[in-house]
């Protein structure tokens, strides 16, 4: 479980997060949603230590992550996997080398054991047989899946995904969502996803945090979305007339 406690973050004179408190639960896909500029990416970067909070705490279990030295932070980071918006695959390495990189760096496995693990991860993301391709030779959706494979290769306890569906068609988005959700349940990990995608919210939103102007505006799960009276949530989720009509047809509101 990860807890963000009274997190504040400022850049220059601008306060992006204004005392945000929320919890990301283990074994669930935790979604951070909100309009552009709400502070989602900043919150995600604070959670993985790429940014330091101005005040407040990021707690991994009982450990105050934001107070750790760089060295101790690295120990926790080895339990973290992250899928970046642009996949962040090393473009001069093949798919196999990309996924193998954390194994090479942090384990003493034999070549065969590493290859087996890489192949397992590739199979898990339905990309078996693509070992020797370079990131530039595969599609955007495949790159995301390679990114997922790389992020789970060390069997992390925490998985962070920054806009995993951006730039993907609806069907591939769904595939990525299902993949992340299945992995979360299979491995009983804490997954945190920063997304704009409303399909993701309704499909895999086990725990959803809506951010608005740097504050937590609503928290709940996908089943609570339809019945919620929260104006900000309604405004965000049912932004288009089409979705408003769908909702009316479903719950009569």
């Amino acid at each position: 479980m990860i807890r963000a406690v009274n997190i504040k973050k400022s850049f220059g004179g601008t306060e992006v997060l204004k005392g945000l408190t929320t919890t990301f639960e283990k074994g669930k896909t935790n979604l951070i949603i909100g309009r552009s500029g709400a502070g989602k990416t900043v919150l995600l970067k604070l959670c993985v230590g790429l940014l330091a909070p101005t005040s407040g705490e990021i707690m991994y279990g009982d450990t105050n992550f934001s107070q750790l030295s760089k060295r101790d932070m690295r120990a926790i980071r080895m339990e973290i996997g992250m899928l970046f918006q642009g996949s962040a695959l090393f473009d001069s390495m093949t798919v196999e080398e990309n996924i193998r990189f954390p194994l090479d760096m942090f384990t003493n496995k034999t070549k065969k054991e590493k290859l087996d693990r890489v192949n397992y991860c590739l199979e898990r993301v339905q990309l078996e047989g693509n070992n020797s391709k370079f990131p530039g030779e595969v599609s955007g959706g495949m790159q995301k899946r390679v990114g997922i494979a790389r992020s789970i290769v060390l069997e992390p306890k925490y998985l962070f995904c920054d806009e995993p569906n951006s730039g993907l068609d609806p069907k591939t988005s769904l595939l990525i969502d299902e993949l992340i959700h299945d992995i979360t349940i299979e491995q009983n990990i804490t997954t945190v996803i920063n997304t704009h995608d409303m399909n993701s919210v309704m499909e895999i939103g086990d725990n959803i945090a809506l951010l608005h102007q740097g504050r937590l505006a609503w928290q709940g799960n996908k089943d609570m979305v339809m019945d919620s009276d929260n104006e900000l949530l309604e405004e965000f989720i049912f932004a288009s007339p089409f979705l408003q009509r769908l909702r009316k047809a479903a719950v009569g509101k």
């Binding site: 790429l50 690295r74 980071r77 760096m105």
Partner: protein
């Protein structure tokens, strides 16, 4: 201006402190160091060789011109080419050129990784990126660049021979006599000291410029240019400081 300098100098020291830590896995660092040695060393052989030939040739030709009709013996041309090459031209000119070739490459490589979030990705994996991305480059350069400088000195002396003997300025016996006269092994020591210091400067300064790059392709280009400019300035400055210290 002064505050800006102090800010960058402080950040440079912090980066170096992070870089000089125990590697996560020695074999990965070793592999990366070997790769860098190949890129810096083998990759720079042609340009270093080419420059060295002309350094020697131009030095020999110009001194031959200056010494004609003087009482200075002709064999002094070989002596002057050897010493000026070993003490100054081989280490300094080679490293100024390498600052352009290797330095800009390092800044662009690390800066590109920063912009494509590769550095963030490695950090989240638990990799000490300052160490993994910078230390192998600095070590590789400090091993390979003195070798390149040594080679440049030898090629330069040969270039001087070719230019002066082949064109009939002096005889080969005179040139070789000059090259073998008044040899001071201490000058070779000076050459290696300069090569080591310059190698360290051009890699660490360029890595610093790339590591902290922000923005897009324009900023990456600027970082690459700044890497070369600052490296060159610091190489010339340290050249003077080393000259003072080692000749005191």
């Amino acid at each position: 201006m002064n505050l800006n300098f102090l800010y960058h100098f402080g950040r440079y020291l912090i980066l170096l402190r992070s870089a000089l830590t125990r590697p996560e896995k020695f074999s990965m660092y070793w592999k990366e160091t070997m790769r860098q040695m190949n890129d810096i060393g083998i990759g720079s052989l042609v340009i270093v060789g080419l420059i060295a030939v002309f350094i020697g040739a131009v030095t020999a030709t110009q001194f031959a011109y200056q010494l004609q009709d003087s009482f200075v013996p002709a064999y002094y041309i070989g002596y002057i080419v050897r010493d000026s090459t070993i003490i100054e031209l081989a280490p300094t000119i080679t490293c100024l050129v390498l600052a352009g070739k290797v330095g800009s490459n390092i800044a662009a490589e690390i800066g590109g990784m920063r912009q494509k979030e590769h550095i963030d990705a490695m950090e989240i994996m638990g990799v000490n990126t300052a160490s993994y991305l910078i230390l192998p480059k600095v070590i590789a350069a400090m091993v390979v660049i003195p070798m390149l400088v040594c080679l440049a000195a030898a090629i330069s002396i040969w270039g001087g021979y070719t230019a002066s003997v082949a064109t009939g300025l002096i005889t080969d016996v005179e040139y070789i006599q000059g090259v073998r006269s008044f040899f001071e092994p201490y000058y070779v020591f000076m050459m290696f000291v300069k090569a080591l210091v310059f190698a360290y400067i051009l890699t660490s300064v360029s890595a610093y410029q790339g590591y902290h790059v922000k923005g897009g392709s324009i900023e990456l280009g600027q970082a690459s240019t700044q890497a070369v400019v600052y490296s060159d300035i610091l190489i010339l400055l340290s050249d003077y400081v080393i000259a003072i210290i080692l000749t005191m």
